[in-house]
């Protein structure tokens, strides 16, 4: 199982190496990886059906309670199958869609990195590791949205998406930590046992609020929805895969996963229903105001995500079942619609739905796929969308007082989504082919087979629901709701209110489709509301933040090194002075002080003399050398008090610093007196105060009883445990080896930073001088 999750990362790591040798032929090998994983997960169907869930456990950081434990149950299996199944199709589709692209291998690397992280999210049982995978999906999504990195709009969208989802992820992290504090474990399976404790605790409100922010940002719920339409700047396979079928459903997954643990309380249900309802209606209205095919699909995806949140929020068995089915139905038809949009864009170069028409003449299979997907999205009988819509209406109708208004909202959303689906899946394929698209021709099978396959799956599952009823939907239902009720999916429910509502939806949707023509004029009407849109408000907020940061930075970082030093020292001095103003505990035991030997006195004298030299000289070189002498004198003290390691290091560092200064100083013009009397006085005052304060602070340290347990342990065990006699070195490479490792990385980063700053030439024309 661990291999299955990590495979994508390994693959992403290898891609840049072996793609160099096999640039052309390899792209058909890529889809085999998700295909292999798909078959692997398919093999679990039977086992999940009989056992309910399977746990896998690998230790990672046991001391922090963070493990790589994976939990495969109905819900995660459904997601895993969607991730790998649609992944296979998208990988194959990309092979032709981005054929010959310069960075095709890079693209596949990002895609498989995403696939692995997404699998990690849905399979993790440990919430910490889930969070890590969760953030990895945000990061890979950032790379993929910004794939066309020379387009500023792409970069901006990628950054928006990353900031929104990354922000949500961090909020969720605090939720997870709070959950651990209350529930006592990071493991979801263990937390399930303390569900009642968590629900009754004082922190419950905080926990669900923090979790909600994570889920809502990821799943593009109002008011965080606006990153998703922007994310459509990514190549179409990415929109298909990440931004409709899988990643945006991670938030839904989270909510569904936590329903048995945190759900079924008034706060949980009412929040989700409200947010879901606002999102689904708001985005559905938006979607019929768009002309760009991808824009239409983006908003209809947001609306569908809203429906899912809404259904999970209702929280009855019926509604959770509806959510389970709709996750699958939506993934199948929306992925197909996106792939079709990609084909149309690829072949005609346009995504303007008001212009596109008549393409059935040149690409019949694509048209069939489009029809199937659009009809499933509309919820016509014999398609999976129909079943999911029926169950959804049944669920909303059961709600007593609220039934009327919630059902009305659901119907309204469905009507608008029907129009959006028809525009994307049917409109481009009917009527007469405009002359400007004459050049369009039949795409490669790699492009049209995936959407057609998805379309037929919608049809197949819709006609024969028993096919998925027991094997897939039943386990999904049990893991969301936690109940054992046996479910039944039926195509025909008899003549009842639900059927009437279905007919109402279809008829009014159909009428709307015929009367409402997509046009630019419609979209312009929405522009005047832009000012109050969440996107505008948040963007203005971040701009304001940016200008404040610029002002602040300019104020303190004015480019003069001396001012930086003054700022830092002054701040530290104030801080220490404030602290020491309260109380000073200096206690010096004069009895214990060792006698000052003559060589120590000489060294101190040396130091004083060189300091006087350093501040009174007019030559830079002399000043630096004098400072070097102070440093070396310091080393002598380290040696006197038996710290040879420290002395050696200090000695080398001082030598290096002096040499480096010399290298640079030699090339500077001759020193003139720059500082005025006042400045000199200010500097002297500051450094004297700082020095005195540091001295007081150092003396205060003696007040604290030094705990020698650690150093004693290190000293006693250095040879026994680490086979070293030099304790300092043993601490560095063994006891604190991890620190050292990270420090070396920091060193490398610093070197890279200096290198790029030094080589960065902001003003190329200067080179001529």
């Amino acid at each position: 199982m661990l291999v299955a999750v990590v495979l994508g990362f390994i693959f992403a790591l290898l891609v840049p190496f072996f793609s160099r040798f096999t640039k052309r032929a390899i792209s058909l090998v890529y889809p085999l990886i998700p295909l292999f994983l798909f078959l692997y997960f398919l093999g679990f169907l039977e086992k999940i059906k009989s056992e309910g869930q399977i746990l896998f456990h690998y230790n990672w950081v046991p001391s922090l309670g963070i493990d790589l434990s994976f939990r495969l149950d109905g819900l995660s299996l459904l997601f895993a199958l969607m991730i790998t199944g649609i992944g296979t199709l998208v990988f194959a589709y990309t092979a032709n869609y981005l054929k010959g692209h310069q960075y095709l291998d890079r693209f596949y690397g990002y895609l498989s990195m995403f696939m692995a992280s997404m699998l990690g999210v849905v399979l993790s049982d440990n919430l910490m590791s889930m969070f890590i995978f969760w953030e990895l999906t945000s990061i890979s999504s950032y790379f993929l949205i910004g794939f066309n990195n020379d387009d500023p709009a792409s970069r901006k969208s990628a950054l928006t998406a990353l900031s929104i989802t990354g922000f949500g992820g961090l909020v969720m992290l605090s939720g997870i930590i709070l959950l651990q504090v209350v529930g006592g474990s990071y493991s979801f399976t263990e937390l399930l046992n303390s569900s009642e404790i968590i629900k009754n605790s004082n922190s419950y409100g905080w926990i669900i609020a923090l979790m909600f922010v994570g889920a809502f940002t990821k799943s593009a719920q109002f008011p965080f929805h606006f990153w998703l339409p922007g994310a459509m700047k990514a190549p179409t396979p990415v929109s298909t895969y990440l931004h409709s079928a899988t990643m945006v459903k991670a938030g839904i997954y989270l909510l569904a996963r936590f329903t048995p643990l945190l759900g079924d309380t008034i706060w949980w249900n009412s929040t989700l229903v409200t947010v879901g309802a606002i999102t689904m209606v708001y985005a559905a209205i938006h979607s019929v105001f768009r002309v760009d095919l991808k824009g239409i699909l983006a908003y209809s995806t947001i609306s569908a995500l809203g429906i899912l949140v809404f259904l999970i929020g209702i929280g009855t068995e019926k509604s959770l079942l509806a959510a389970g089915i709709f996750i699958l139905a939506h993934a199948l038809y929306k992925a197909a619609l996106f792939l079709i949009t990609g084909i149309i864009d690829h072949e005609t170069g346009s995504r303007d739905v008001s212009k596109l028409a008549g393409l059935q003449k040149v690409m019949m299979p694509v048209a069939i796929a489009g029809f199937l997907a659009a009809l499933s999205s509309a919820g016509l009988p014999f398609l999976l969308g129909f079943i999911s819509k029926e169950v959804m209406y049944e669920a909303t109708l059961q709600l007593g007082n609220w039934a009327l208004i919630l059902t009305a909202l659901a119907v309204l959303t469905k009507i608008l989504l029907l129009v959006a689906g028809f525009w994307a899946g049917i409109k481009p394929f009917t009527g007469n082919l405009p002359s400007e698209f004459n050049k369009a021709h039949m795409p490669s099978p790699l492009l049209w087979v995936p959407p057609l396959l998805l379309g037929f799956l919608s049809l197949g599952f819709g006609m024969f629901p028993f096919f998925i009823q027991e094997s897939l939907i039943q386990p999904v239902f049990s893991s969301i709701s936690g109940s054992d009720t046996t479910i039944e999916l039926k195509l025909w429910h008899g003549f009842n209110l639900v059927l009437l509502l279905s007919v109402l939806t279809l008829v009014s949707g159909g009428l709307l489709y015929f009367f409402l023509k997509p046009s630019k004029a419609l979209i312009e009407k929405t522009f005047k509301f832009e000012v109050i849109s969440p996107q505008n408000i948040i963007e203005n907020g971040s701009n304001l933040f940016g200008s404040f940061a610029r002002f602040w930075t300019r104020f303190f970082q004015n480019g003069y090194l001396r001012n930086y030093v003054i700022t830092i020292l002054a701040f530290l001095t104030l801080l220490m002075a404030y602290r020491l103003f309260g109380e000073v505990n200096i206690y010096i035991d004069w009895e214990q002080i060792s006698t000052v030997s003559y060589y120590e006195a000489i060294v101190v004298l040396m130091m004083i003399i060189s300091i006087i030299f350093a501040i009174s000289t007019n030559s830079r070189t002399t000043a630096i050398v004098a400072l070097g002498v102070v440093g070396f004198a310091n080393c002598l003290f380290f040696i006197f008090y038996s710290a040879p390691d420290l002395a050696m290091t200090q000695f080398s560092i001082d030598t290096l610093t002096v040499l480096l200064f010399m290298l640079v100083l030699v090339k500077l013009p001759k020193n003139k007196s720059f500082s005025s009397k006042g400045m000199k006085f200010r500097d002297a005052f500051l450094s004297l105060t700082f020095g005195v304060l540091i001295a007081i602070l150092t003396l205060e340290v003696f007040e604290e009883p030094s705990s020698s347990e650690v150093s004693k342990y290190f000293a006693d065990n250095a040879y026994l445990l680490a086979k070293g006699r030099n304790v300092v070195n043993v601490i560095l490479v063994d006891y604190r080896g991890f620190d050292t490792m990270i420090e070396t990385v920091v060193l490398v980063i610093a070197a890279a930073g200096v290198f790029s700053l030094m080589k960065l030439d902001l003003n190329p024309s200067k080179k001529d001088l």
Partner: protein
């Protein structure tokens, strides 16, 4: 610098100091020394050389771009850190050869780790120094 004495001395100093830095690196586990100090000393050796003969000359002696030493060193350190995984031990556990080697003494993953630190320190300091001197 055009002092003949300094030039002559530094051409002898370079190999001596390098040898000394390796000596410091190897003895680190038992006596004062180690990868960090050793690396600093090696960088000082190159720096002195570049004082006497100029940056170009030193760079031609090193042959490779010192920046490459950083990833190599990191690979050493990370390799030593994850090596225990292969014998089912936790990260960074010290592994040792049974018998001491001639001249070197006991060899273990700690030494490999220290060599990694040594290389990273040389790479980082030389990159910083060279790019600063190159620009001014």
């Amino acid at each position: 610098m055009k002092s003949l004495i300094f030039k002559t001395a530094s051409s002898y100093l370079l190999p001596l100091l390098l040898l000394f830095s390796i000596f410091i690196l190897l003895r680190g586990h038992y006596l004062p020394g180690g990868g960090f100090v050793g690396g600093l000393m090696a960088s000082i050796a190159f720096l002195i050389h570049s004082f006497a003969f100029g940056l170009k000359e030193t760079q031609s002696i090193i042959k490779i771009n010192p920046g490459y030493l950083m990833p190599i060193g990191l690979a050493f350190a990370v390799g030593a850190a994850i090596a225990p995984f292969f014998v089912d031990a936790p990260l960074l556990k010290g592994l040792w050869f049974e018998e001491p080697f001639r001249f070197i003494g006991m060899v273990g993953s700690a030494l490999i780790f220290d060599i990694g630190v040594y290389l990273v320190v040389i790479g980082a300091t030389l990159t910083i120094i060279f790019s600063i001197t190159d620009t001014v």
